[in-house]
Symmetry: C5
Subunit: 312 residues, 5 copies
């Protein structure tokens, strides 16, 4: 492809990030734009790959075509309140000496790499290095997300052991949904990296394998943590349920203590409230005091009994 | 097979959708009809394949025979109230230059393709292209179905967090059953596509593999969503159970609050209702007001106590 | 083996079902009989295979020996009340031109095939055709059994959603046990058929493979339905538990409503039952009516309150 | 190894069970004894194998060394009250023409084989036959153990459906632990047998494979039953929980019935216990009977109402 | 690498544990130190391996590089109160005739080996022997940790069957988290050992394989126990929940017994407390005693009834 046609493509939404001999990196932030059609025509991209760019967010994958590979990467974005994991998609066409990235709206990962390039913090000379840089940044963002989720789970579990609230329950279910979405993205990314590491992937040179393997290790670790957190979330729900059972228990216990004290007292007052002509003690001047004493005695002995049974 | 015999077959229920050199597409909408026997005789179809067409709906599969392949495709139909997924079956005999599709009653998928052909929206020249078109349309219908199910789950979960109703429970169980049926159909379809993609399937040309792989990706994604939804459904049931526990808790709490206020008040009235000759305050003109004051004090202090314990 | 010795074997319990050149089918309905020892001696069957015939019902399997194969088939028998799946065993020795079937007591499957042969509905010329006929009939009986179980689960779930009874619970657990037994038999049968389809099984000719594959498909489908039903059974238990929780809730709610109405009324009557010299209203001629009015007002406003809270 | 050194080894704890040309079977019942060191030195056993003999009970395994194989077999011992499965270990060194078995204390399996040999019930001429005899006896003991466990589960489930007791719960958890221990032993034994059947195991001759395969089938069946029983145990716990829910329901129901009858009656007596100057009926001679009638009417109609609602 | 440069490296944090021809073992206890950079430069270690040393604790793994292997080992440290499993990391660079171990802070495992070397309890001559010694010591520590956890589970389960306390619940959840962490470390260690045993791992000589296989067996056993304990923990939670249900049951039962006795008694006193002009028994001198007798009779017969129903 000649310099001219490249310039021709440098239209709205299309950036040329790197343009060296051996590496041309084009970036397009609007998959719906006709620029993508032009690119497809120039480079001979398959209609299915173009469709994948334009459809809703899909799972990470790697498809081989004649003369290029199509790589779909999932980036994840975590928001804390409410806990939600949104998954986005970065598409990359990887050729012998070019890489074309497509994404909807600005991509933090690609902007970050561009900044690194500008400040000479990173240096890329081949398309597979660019691909690695993108995937590396995307995967590096998993860990803080997972740490955040882990911390939230810990906080909720600790809070649940003190007092179970419906809001905690809600947080647990939000986290569960979030982890499910996260897991889908990470699982497909793992498959993608597995292919990049193992297969004789075209356009990935041998010496980059070790770097992709490193990213693969991080993804495996992230996946592992996701499973652990899912287990912990189930545990959190168990805590909630057992704590609710505890609470019901305590309330019913309180009711029972009250009834056990009050009902006998009420019976005594009812007894002396009957209208019999003769009831013992009624005519005695101190009868009321004797009775009051009995009432107090019942109350105190009941309380002592519950104290003894450790209900109080 | 000569032109004549083809015309002879064009009887009740049998349509010739495409009849070009290189592609004959016959469609039969009644597997029980004797036409199928005639076709079997003309083309030499195996009795087992014919049986599979005629029996109850079965799981998707791909059988290789001499000179043709037999493909059983599952299409799914979703109805919302009650949530139900019905699975239907489209059978296809795929030969070198013909495809014969068989289904019970009209098939929306095949009608749709015919419309596309009529309106020149699609163009097919080979039997494997027809097969791809059918499977593609069938699989494309998974996603809206799943989105519907996902939305229903979200709605039910949100409703459950506000107030748990038995009807929600019923919807959850309907969805569960629906997903189980859906999953069976999708799982077997995935196996079918896996064979179409990987094997050296006869009558599928090399350049169609990439298209079948694309459909395969969609099925994998659908399967993945089914699993996610099953997880969410279990979560929905957990929400229901915990909300029911919450509610019982609240009711028992209400009962306990009431009893804790009422029983002491009743004891006081019982105390002054006893028929002792002498009970303090009884003879005093303001005794009733003092007592009423005590009753109000008990009530208010109890309410304050529960307010303090955040039960109110 | 000569004709003579075959006749000699035609003793008690041993039937010669088919005796053509190329196919001798002997059937023995008593594995304990010494006839089996005689057969073992004549045909050189291994002691382990003979032991397998004589022991308790075992799981389906296929063992290769020199000059013959030993095949153990599981047939299933379903009784509805109580739901029970009994598993029985048909053993077959499959040689080059003979098949010997052994089973305890009469076997419905084998009697059915004999009837078909007599009425010319079936036609067998080779040992592997006999084997296929037996397994086919045995497997064909799975589907009605599963349909029965499925219908029972549906009935119980519907009944549970209306009113949970302990008898439903019992049916669920019977079904669960039945499915576990059924699953074991079907799973081992699937393995058996897998071997018959894939391996270069001796004494199974190439053209029979396609028929065994067809049976295999049916077994896979049955297995799939078993898993679905197990899921549904778990769901049934969940329905029971949630319905019980609902019911407890309703009862406690009823108690709370009653107490909430009755306790305040009792307090009012207790108030005017106190023996103070002066209590307002007591001396008024209409005092009782005012009080009665208050009691009615409390009752009605409480009922209205619960109506408003949708507890009634 | 010469005859002399063998005799020299025949010291405390070491028995020579068989000493024929082609088979020497030594048995040692104290792995800690220095005799084992002497054996190791004479036969050249690896220190790791000796360590495995001496350490705590381990999982079954098969290790190949130069000139011999080391086989670790797990035997299981079941005690019924409390339900417990103890796992023991028999170690075997299998060489070309010798087998040396090591175990702590007397082994019922080995004593039984020795008795059979003495009474000529069994006949062994090769080391692999001895190995088969030991594993066969050990595995044969699985089935009665499992039948016992199965019967206990059935008994407990039946008892639970009649009345749930904490002791049943305890038995369920004992069984669960026992099955877990049993499963570990059986699973590793299965792996061991799998190796004996499939691999080109040294010192196991071809014609013994079929016998080991037979034992393997038994172990697979045992494993299968263990899984089924685990499922049933979980079911047992579910029965317990649902029955407890039922019982709480019944108790709360009883309380509600009582309160629903008593509270209105108490209200009536409270009404006529008020001290108003004028209350209807009070002055009438038959007032008390009218009132008593009302009380009875309330009681009876309430009972009828509960009868109608099938609560009684 | 010359003697001189080795001495030059012997700076802060770097120890030369063994320095023989054929084996140089360097140990560094501060991965952040610049010494590691110097080592990396001298030996040509890859930047990714150095990064793995310096980052947070990671999962065990084995990476092959040109001229050396990088091995990451997880050691586990168990604290009892609260039950916690901390995972630490020992990194090893394994070359032809050297091994360099890196860890943060002092490592008990490496100190122990050094002590053994000093006291001649162990003898190492090759790098792979050092690696084995480290992994062996690390894995040997699993068993006491697991035994501790197993004992704690047993204690908690026994305590739960006597009386369920929230602290037990807390211990169960701590154990669950601890086991999850432990399992992650052990699982990755198992993969690591699997590679050391099976692959043609460079720098591991053939005769060490058997020793690594032995360690592998121990790790498999540990993994197996972890799974068993996870099952038991779930069982513990089930015990807690069922015991809570039991307890609620008992409390509600107590309340019901009390109410069943008290409410009828209160009704009787209310009956005779009504102000009718004529109520039977009121004017009789012994009326109060008759009534008291009735009250006692009700109490006693109720108690007898509950005794009969085994509620007391």
């Amino acid at each position: 492809m000649s310099e001219t046609s490249q310039t021709a493509l440098a239209v709205k939404g299309l950036r040329t990030i790197v343009d060296n001999p051996g590496l041309l990196w084009l970036d397009l932030d609007d998959p719906m734009s006709h620029v993508l059609d032009d690119l497809a025509a120039s480079y001979g991209f398959h209609e299915l790959a173009i469709e994948d760019c334009r459809h809703h967010v899909q799972l990470a994958k790697l498809d081989y075509y004649d003369g290029y590979s199509f790589i779909l990467i999932n980036s994840t974005h975590y928001t804390e309140k409410p806990c939600e994991v949104r998954v986005r998609e970065i598409d990359a066409f990887l050729g012998q000496n070019y890489i074309i990235t497509v994404h909807e709206g600005p991509s933090r990962a690609i902007d970050e790499i561009q900044n690194h390039l500008t400040s000479n913090a990173t240096h890329v000379t081949r398309p597979d290095e660019v691909l690695h840089a993108i995937i590396d940044i995307v995967v590096d963002r998993y860990l803080p997300t997972l740490d955040h989720i882990g911390d939230t789970i810990d906080d909720v579990e600790d809070a649940l052991l003190i007092s179970p609230e419906v809001t905690h329950l809600q947080t647990l279910f939000e986290l569960k949904r979030g982890l499910l979405q996260f897991r889908r993205a990470v699982a497909s990314q793992r498959e993608l990296l597995n292919m990049l590491v193992r297969d004789d992937t075209p356009f990935i040179q041998q010496d980059m394998r070790i770097y992709f393997r490193d990213v693969y290790d991080h993804v495996v670790r992230a996946m592992d943590m996701v499973e652990t957190y899912r287990d912990l979330l189930t545990g959190g729900l168990d805590i909630y349920l057992t704590q609710m059972a505890n609470r019901t228990n305590d309330i019913v216990k309180g009711l029972t203590i009250l009834a056990t004290i009050m009902l006998p007292l009420t019976l005594v007052t009812g007894y002396f409230g009957m209208n019999f002509e003769y009831i013992p003690l009624l005519k005695e001047p101190n009868g009321i005091w004797y009775t009051t004493g009995v009432l107090l005695f019942i109350t105190i002995s009941m309380l002592a009994f519950f104290k003894h049974k450790k209900w109080l």
